[in-house]
């Protein structure tokens, strides 16, 4: 571990270069104040009203899911509370720039369903026989439906053989309300249905239109468009719209089969950029859990997906990923997918992809909320004077600590003061950097973590210096004592800091909200303490040990015979017991 020739100077220089890099990054990020949490700075408050009359369990579950969504990154400490059994209030620290995005994240029900596409607006398929509907909404028709990374972007021109679909086919596999058919609905049934949908659904498909928001509307007798929301029932076919923004944007109408895979069957969802692509996508991992399979008793999602993909591959037929009744994307299949992995592409940027993945991962909300959401800025709950007074007190306390160390350790006290300053600087820099990069917000519990850290950081010097003194009492010279004392202090520090890191890690993993922030701060400061001790304090002491003022036992060095207490009764020969 230790090199033959110690070069404390080099370590020190390297450390300061590291600190310089840290602050360089901060300067690039350009913020010199940490982002504060709800209690210190206030933030955004979103109040949502539940529709209908949800049961208490559902309401609480919804609260929990929303909590998980907004706190997925874990260190911004948003708060979610339920009020009067009807409202859910979400408070997010700081002034959120894209409020729409945040509202969407919070409110989104995140009901994800995979359905098969029976008809696409403007394509040659069974539905086209119904003749062109009247009053088509003004749409850009030059886009190509079904765009995705995994399939060819050719329009689906494969006219289906059932161009003149006979209405007699409806009895066999059309969904019947009474559900009298025995046996379980399988993916094959749906594939068959989507090749030849029943007349009722076709009629509905031709009747409805999509407006720009992707909502379904119908034209009434007076020629006005009235909203005609479609219920997203997994056991019914659905007419749904897809809205695409940017180039080739527009709205596409789909007739979709009953749901073949439910969002509840997902194992995991994450956001990322697929290889060789530039746009963000959401990756889905379908589990194969039969207990979660929909409909009950059918095969698991992975098997269903395999069936669908192998049947649809190369035929140009599409399946659709539907979220809350809107089509997110309708890809075609190029190859059978056997491992249950798929991805949703579309007009995602990093935030929207991450948000969607987040919503999917924590499951769908069991309740829905009304459209109008009140969003407002709230002020801090901890008064400004409290924080500043507390910080001032803490600073005065730190000053006293430094004074005490200077008195007690004299010359070495300078090292303590320097180390505390360096540790404070590094901590501040790291907090700034994390505020920028990971959305870390400083809250009161976080500050608590840092206050505890003062004690722990100071303790590491105390342990080290007391060790040096003990070694010198054994009769070693200062320069030797600095190294041998270090070898032992190091072991103690590692053991003790392991306990702290364990505490921090567990609190961060298991706890929620405020406690999580505390755990994070504690872990961070423990790591910084180790770094400062190893790369600053120790090299500095070694470096100082080279100077005569220190190693000759000068009165102010903090290591003179007097301060070691060796000037009292005549010294005894060093003992051999217990700690040699």
């Amino acid at each position: 571990m230790a090199p033959r020739r110690l070069r404390p100077g080099r370590t020190l220089i390297a450390f300061f270069v590291g600190v310089g890099v840290l602050f360089g990054l901060v300067a690039i990020a350009g913020t010199w104040k940490p982002s504060l949490g709800l209690d210190l700075q206030g933030g955004l408050r979103i109040t949502m009203t539940a529709t209908g009359d949800p049961s208490d369990e559902n309401f609480e579950e919804a609260r929990r899911i929303i909590d998980q969504r907004v706190n997925a990154s874990g260190i911004s400490e948003a708060e979610v509370t339920a009020q009067s059994g009807q409202y859910i209030v979400v408070e997010i620290p700081g002034s959120t720039e894209n409020r729409r995005e945040t509202e969407e994240l919070v409110r989104r029900q995140a009901q994800l369903r995979f359905r098969l596409v029976a008809c696409v607006e403007g394509a040659q398929d069974p539905c086209a026989t119904g003749g062109l509907p009247l009053g088509r909404a003004p749409l850009a028709l030059d886009h190509k439906p079904g765009h995705q990374g995994t399939a060819n972007d050719e329009p689906t021109d494969t006219a289906s053989p059932t161009d003149t679909a006979s209405p007699t086919e409806t009895g066999t596999d059309a969904p019947e309300e009474d559900g009298g058919d025995a046996g379980v609905r399988t993916a094959e049934d749906e594939i068959a249905w989507s090749a030849a949908p029943d007349q009722e659904s076709i009629a509905l498909f031709n009747e409805l239109q999509c407006n720009e928001d992707g909502a379904t509307v119908r034209t009434n007798r007076q020629g006005e468009t009235v909203p005609a929301p479609q219920e997203d029932d997994p056991d019914q076919p659905l007419v749904a719209c897809e809205v695409r923004e940017g180039e080739g944007g527009g709205v596409t109408k789909y007739l979709l089969s009953r749901s073949v895979i439910e969002g509840t069957e997902l194992d995991d969802a994450s956001a990322g950029i697929p290889q060789g692509e530039v746009d963000w996508a959401v990756f889905l991992e379908l589990g194969n859990n039969k207990e979660k399979a929909h409909p009950e008793g059918s095969t698991g999602a992975e098997d269903d997906f395999e069936t669908i993909s192998s049947q649809l591959a190369g035929t140009g037929r599409q399946f659709a990923i539907v979220l809350d009744g809107q089509v997110l994307s309708a890809p075609e299949m190029n190859d059978p997918i056997l491992d249950g992995r798929s991805q949703i592409t579309g007009n995602f940027d990093e935030d929207s992809a991450a948000n969607l993945a987040n919503s999917l991962k924590f499951g769908a909300l069991p309740i829905s909320f009304e459209e109008d959401v009140t969003t407002e800025d709230v002020g801090p709950s901890l008064a400004g004077d409290q924080l500043s007074a507390g910080l001032t007190a803490g600073a005065i306390g730190l000053g006293l600590v430094m004074l005490y160390c200077l008195l007690y350790y004299r010359g070495l006290g300078l090292v303590v003061v320097g180390s505390l300053f360096v540790a404070a600087g590094v901590t501040y820099g790291t907090v700034l950097l994390l505020s920028e990069a990971a959305g870390f917000t400083l809250t009161l519990p976080g500050i608590a973590g840092f206050i505890i850290a003062v004690g722990i950081t100071a303790d590491s010097f105390v342990i080290y210096f007391e060790r040096i003194r003990d070694e010198m009492r054994e009769g070693k010279s200062m320069r030797v004592a600095v190294e041998t004392g270090w070898a032992r202090a190091r072991v103690t520090r590692f053991a003790a800091n392991t306990v702290n890191l364990l505490a921090a890690l567990i609190l961060y993993v298991f706890a929620t909200g405020a406690v999580k922030g505390f755990g994070f701060a504690l872990g961070l400061s423990t790591l910084i303490d180790l770094a400062v001790l190893f790369w600053f304090t120790k090299p500095l002491v070694s470096w100082l040990a080279q100077f005569k003022a220190f190693n000759s036992g000068h009165r102010l060095s903090g290591l003179s015979r007097e301060t070691l207490g060796l000037d009292g009764p005549p010294a005894r020969p060093a003992t051999a017991g217990g700690n040699a």
């Binding site: 007074a389 007190a393 803490g394 017991g577």
Partner: protein, 417 residues
């Protein structure tokens, strides 16, 4: 300063030695008393859980002409000073440009009217029926948060027990550390209950911080104990003495650390409790201050004592103690107890001129006598020389002037000592 350093040196050399291991009954009794008092305190004066745990009432005041942070702070002061039941710890935030949100514990009708009166006094323009809306708020720290936190704590404790066990190769240290931790938590919660502060998430966080700190401090002390007791076979010390010496050697560090850690928290506690009135800062500071103080105390006074107690029945430790006694007697100076100077009664190690030629680590000398640790060195010399083993059965009287005669042994056993 020199005094403190000299004390450090004396403690290090075992010149001065405070007995941290003896008087078990007394200290256990004291600890049990403390914990008992803490539990009693919680029973008599139950913890006062805040809005975050129990839900409460939210009053929303819309003020024409807008509000700012100063208004919110003023209203908080006014409500807190009004002494309305269940509104002792209000929280007031601004909401949007023209509203204030006042959150308190669940208010009765009368309290609600009283808070309204305070609001009207501050903002005469407010129309109580139009501009004040009242809502019940659910707990943001409900069952689920508590459950998760408890799971976290349980996992943490199990991991720490395992860590200490593996690191020190001694499960008894884990047990002792847990005893100390229990004591710290109990004392902290008890004092918190006595203070009458409201339990807020900040206080819970403070308590969790104690969890880590208490164990951390115990580990530091145990590390020294481990170091001192690994080489026991070579030395003349019993486990008891070596552990005691270790605690003495880390005593200066413990004192320094507690000073260094407690000063900043104490400052924050003082400022927030004395000058600011109720705030989450004071909850946090109180929990941390008490917990840290208890943590340092228990890592010195309680954990090593429990450890030595647990170890005291181990064969190896008993054997070592016996060996240590024998070695001590062997080394003892028969003529040391010349009654002129009783080197340990007047405890003046600093007086020069008293040349004390005892070997470096005599038995710990403490002010209070203790059986088995006699303060008179002459006794150590008693029976010096060959120690006869206790007879297995009665020895018949013989003509050998009272000495036991050698027993006949097999050849292989002869000549071995």
């Amino acid at each position: 300063m020199g005094k403190m350093s000299r004390l450090g040196n004396d403690l290090y050399n075992g010149e001065k030695s405070i007995d941290f291991m003896g008087h078990r009954a007394l200290w256990y009794g004291f600890t049990l008393l403390l914990v008992g008092l803490a539990i009693t305190a919680v029973i008599v004066k139950p913890l006062n859980f805040g809005v975050e745990f129990r839900g409460g009432t939210e009053q929303r005041v819309t003020v024409e002409g807008g509000v700012d942070q100063a208004d919110a702070d003023d209203l908080r002061e006014a409500i807190a000073d009004a002494g309305i039941e269940n509104a002792e710890n209000p929280s007031v935030t601004t909401a949007g440009p023209d509203s204030l949100v006042l959150t308190t514990e669940t208010l009765s009708e009368t309290s609600e009217t009283e808070t309204e009166a305070v609001i009207l006094e501050m903002f005469p323009s407010v129309d109580p029926t139009e501009d004040i809306s009242v809502q019940e708020v659910g707990p943001s720290w409900g069952q689920e948060v508590a459950e998760r936190a408890l799971i976290g704590i349980a996992v943490f404790l199990v991991l720490v027990i395992l860590f200490i066990w593996f690191y020190f190769r001694e499960w008894k240290m884990s047990v002792a550390a847990m005893v100390a931790l229990t004591h710290d938590l109990a004392v902290t919660i008890g004092i918190y209950a006595l203070s009458g502060f409201q339990v807020t998430p900040a206080a819970v966080t403070g308590l969790l911080a104690i969890l880590g700190f208490s164990l951390y401090d115990t580990v530091v002390v145990f590390d020294k104990i481990k170091e001192n007791t690994t080489t026991l076979r070579k030395s003349t010390e019993s486990y008891h003495d070596a552990a005691n010496l270790a605690v003495n050697q880390t005593l200066v560090r413990s004192i320094n650390t507690s000073i260094v850690a407690l000063i900043p928290i104490g400052a924050i506690l003082y400022v927030s409790a004395v000058q600011l009135g109720a705030s989450s800062l004071q909850d946090l500071a109180l929990a941390q201050f008490v917990g840290m103080a208890a943590g340092v105390y228990s890592s010195v006074m309680l954990a090593p004592r429990v450890l030595v107690h647990l170890k005291s029945s181990e064969t190896e430790v008993v054997e070592q103690a016996r060996r240590a006694r024998a070695r001590k007697r062997a080394l003892a100076d028969k003529y040391a107890s010349v009654p002129a100077v009783r080197g340990n009664v007047a405890d003046t190690p600093d007086t020069p001129g008293v040349v004390d030629d005892r070997p470096a680590r005599p038995a710990p000398v403490d002010v209070d006598e203790e059986p088995g640790e006699p303060a008179r060195p002459s006794e150590e010399a008693l029976g010096k020389g060959r120690v006869a083993p206790t007879a297995q059965r009665k020895v018949a009287p013989s003509s050998s002037s009272g000495r036991q005669q050698p027993v006949r042994q097999a050849r292989s056993k002869r000549g071995k000592k």
